[in-house]
């Protein structure tokens, strides 16, 4: 399995991860199509909370269309089979199945790791583990 992880609390809120994610996956300059959540906690305590998919597979378990499958070490959505019912969005324990009005299928991290080298704060890492 591969999964994106968040280490520490040094996120500076630049959102490069979201933008690059959207550019790579959709060729769209649109941070709203990134598969990472960055929540600002201001004025206090003055931190960003970053939420990423840990590839738990709950989305696949609840999908009535069986549109989410394990492929190349991560759970991926087959957009052709997705009906856009939103069951996975509701079921996601981390709140990281995103929707956008342009798209039927939700947006989900596929652990591609593109964002990792461009996180200047070293918050994002890609963990690769043997099949559990």
């Amino acid at each position: 399995m591969k999964r994106l992880t968040v280490t520490g609390e040094a996120c500076s809120g630049c959102r490069v991860c979201q933008l690059l994610c959207a550019l790579v996956h959709f060729h769209d300059n649109n941070v709203k199509k990134g598969a990472i959540a960055v929540h600002g906690l201001f004025p206090a305590p003055g931190r960003y909370r970053v939420e990423v998919c840990d590839q738990c597979g709950e989305c696949a378990r609840v999908c009535p269309e069986e549109a989410i499958g394990l492929e190349d070490g991560a759970w991926r959505i087959d957009a052709k089979r997705c009906s856009g019912c939103g069951a996975c969005v509701d079921a996601c324990p981390s709140g990281v199945m995103f929707t956008h009005s342009d798209l039927v299928a939700p947006i989900k991290c596929d652990a591609c790791g593109e964002c990792v080298p461009f996180c200047s704060r070293g918050v994002l890492e890609l963990a690769e583990e043997g099949n559990r």
Partner: protein, 622 residues
């Protein structure tokens, strides 16, 4: 050029606050071609649309918010929005710049420019949510601090809205009010927030989901990644970022250019207790950055004074200089606390610190007395004095009402010789460099197009390198910087990768083509920046009767009084040196000795449409 679609939101939003109506127009492709974006849009629209004789606080003065073609896309520090209006601080061209996420969000909603006209009957705020635009009642927000307003609007509308707001100082029309965005970024200078206050516009909230098209997304990803990797490899990426702008405090003191005691001297004994290291070691919570920024200069901090715990983004260098040095507060905790108070009241800490320091000196010299201060003594270095003045100014109570006009106007009314130490150019208070023995930096302040601001030409390093009172080469260097630095404001990106980390600026031209589909060399872009510089000059010529050389003058303190202490003790520039600098500057710019552009220069820069205003001014002057 076929269209202005790639790299742009593609639309202009016009709002009329008096009627509560709005209109969406396509972005004019010629405007994009000839003025690029950001500051270029602000300069052109203000020139075209502000009527002569317009009261900066009147309904006909438009408030502009502009993004650039590189804002919000994948390259380092693509965060910048540019705001503008006829300045209530100076009566001339006014603009201010802010990072955070505002420009990105505007373009995601499909807009490059907001043009906000008129004055609302009652307090209001503007909401832009993709295609839905509304002017809503803000009576529940009026009177609230900047941070509370931003929090309230995010609760009301959603945390993914980006908010720009004024505080009570802007509502009360203090001429150096600032706009706050993203819990601590400011569009601080030239009183653009005062224009918002005059319009009864408390805040602007924007959310966009559309994104915007790139000419060649694959190439943007490739070149953008190269740019990030190049930046990561520079030594400054690791060395500069921990301390941000406040890291320069030691150096500025070492060269005796740190504004201290209302610019009486250039060295502050306690500077190590207010600089970047003190900030990081004692009060830092988080390195907070703007959109796309890998070198976050926002030093988000927490301090407790008495029983009051506050959070503040900063202090950044300018605040350290103007609240720390200029008001002589010698502990980073005190500087950060005043920073938080000014931010929440919505006061620019640069002008705010300068005005407070001016008032402290007036009290020292008996020009302001206890009869003006409710019987209290005011002293440099006294936190209570600084806070008392700050709050009086924001509320415009008593002596604060006079000081709220800025040092130029306050000195004119106070008299008593205070004009000699009112530290401003064109009515805008000088920022955090004491240039009385730094010729290029002095010239930079004298000729900056919004009044005394460092950011158009931070030339002090050149003075230190080549000889501080030398005249030769200084005007050339200042002009070069006045084209280079504001170009970043046209593109919609931050200049810090270049200024602070020595990133090669022409890389922005490399990514301009895949973003916009237009190939422009860095040299061509610099020529457009020269066009904009001359256009903002012509705004002054058009709007200010008798404008010219007499407006480009330094505060007398810089040529009349030697510095009291520190590395520049006993030094100052002569009046003659300053006049020679102006002669050189005008000649190199193709302007006449009165400081007016020549018709030939304007034609050459594609500004022929401004020549009638020039002829009118010349006719009136003879």
């Amino acid at each position: 050029m076929k269209d202005a679609r790639h790299g742009y939101g593609g639309r202009v939003l016009r709002v009329d606050l008096a009627r509560g109506t709005h209109r969406v127009e396509p972005l004019d492709p010629e405007l994009a071609r000839d003025y690029i974006g950001g500051r270029g849009f602000v300069a052109k629209i203000l020139y075209d649309e502000v009527p002569v004789g317009c009261d900066p606080l009147g309904p006909e003065n438009p408030l502009l918010v502009a993004a650039g073609p590189l804002s919000g896309t994948f390259l380092p520090c693509a965060s910048k929005a540019h705001l503008g209006a006829k300045s209530p601080a100076t009566g001339g061209y006014g603009d201010a710049n802010v990072g955070g996420h505002l420009a990105m969000e505007m373009k995601h909603a499909g807009y490059d420019l907001f043009i906000i006209a008129g004055r609302a009957d009652r307090p209001c705020y503007l909401v832009v949510d993709d295609d839905q635009v509304a002017v809503r009642d803000a009576s529940h927000l009026w009177g609230k601090g900047s941070l509370a307003t931003e929090s309230a609007l995010k609760r009301e509308l959603g945390e993914d809205f980006q908010v720009a707001t004024i505080g009570p100082a802007g509502e009360n029309l203090v001429r150096f009010a600032c706009i706050t965005h993203d819990f601590g970024r400011q569009a601080g200078r030239a009183g653009i927030a005062t224009v918002m206050g005059a319009k009864r516009l408390k805040a602007i909230a924007v959310r966009g989901s559309r994104g915007f098209p790139l000419a060649d997304p694959g190439a943007v990803i490739r070149v953008g990644k190269e740019m990030y990797r190049q930046l990561f490899a520079l030594p400054g990426f690791r060395d500069w970022t921990p301390y941000g702008t406040a890291g320069v405090t030691d150096w500025v003191n070492r060269v005796g250019a740190f504004p201290t005691r209302n610019f009486q001297t250039g060295f502050f004994e306690a500077h190590r207790d207010i600089g970047g290291k003190a900030l990081r070691d004692r009060i830092l919570v988080l390195d907070k950055g703007c959109f796309g920024c890998p070198i976050p200069c926002g030093k988000y901090s927490r301090v407790t004074i008495g029983s009051d715990e506050v959070y503040v983004e900063g202090p950044e260098y300018e605040t350290v200089a103007m609240i720390g040095g200029d008001c002589c507060l010698g502990r980073i905790e005190e500087v950060a606390y005043v920073n938080a108070v000014m931010d929440d009241l919505g006061l620019d800490t640069i002008s705010g610190g300068n005005v407070v320091a001016f008032a402290l000196e007036c009290f020292d010299r008996g020009i302001i007395t206890r009869s003006d201060t409710e019987g209290r003594d005011l002293r440099f270095g006294d936190l209570e004095s600084v806070l008392w003045l700050t709050r009086k100014i924001a509320r415009r109570e008593g002596i604060g009402d006079l000081l709220a006009q800025g040092v130029k106007e306050a000195a004119a009314r106070l008299g008593g010789g205070s004009e000699r130490f009112a530290i401003h150019v064109k009515g805008l208070e000088v920022s955090g460099y004491e240039p009385r023995y730094a010729a290029a930096m002095a010239l930079a302040y004298m000729t900056c197009d919004v009044g005394a601001h460092h950011n158009r030409a931070w030339a002090i390093t050149y003075d230190v390198a080549v000889g501080r009172d030398r005249v030769e080469g200084k005007a050339h260097r200042v002009i070069e910087l006045q084209h280079l630095r504001p170009l970043f404001d046209m593109l919609g990106v931050c200049r810090f990768p270049w200024v602070e980390v020595e990133f090669e600026p022409s890389r922005y031209a490399d990514i301009f083509a895949p973003v916009t589909g237009q190939r422009r060399s860095w040299e061509e872009l610099l020529e457009l920046s020269e066009r904009v510089w001359n256009l903002t000059r012509m705004f002054w010529v058009r709007h200010v009767p008798g404008f010219g050389r007499s407006w480009d003058q330094a505060p007398p303190r810089w040529y009349e009084e030697p510095a009291l202490s520190g590395p520049t003790q006993g030094k100052h520039l002569s009046r003659d040196t300053l006049e020679r600098l102006l002669d050189d500057y005008y000649a190199l710019r193709g302007w006449d000795a009165r400081g007016l552009p020549t018709p030939e220069k304007l034609e050459q820069l594609g500004l022929g449409f401004t020549v009638p205003d020039l002829e009118r001014a010349r006719g009136a002057g003879t």
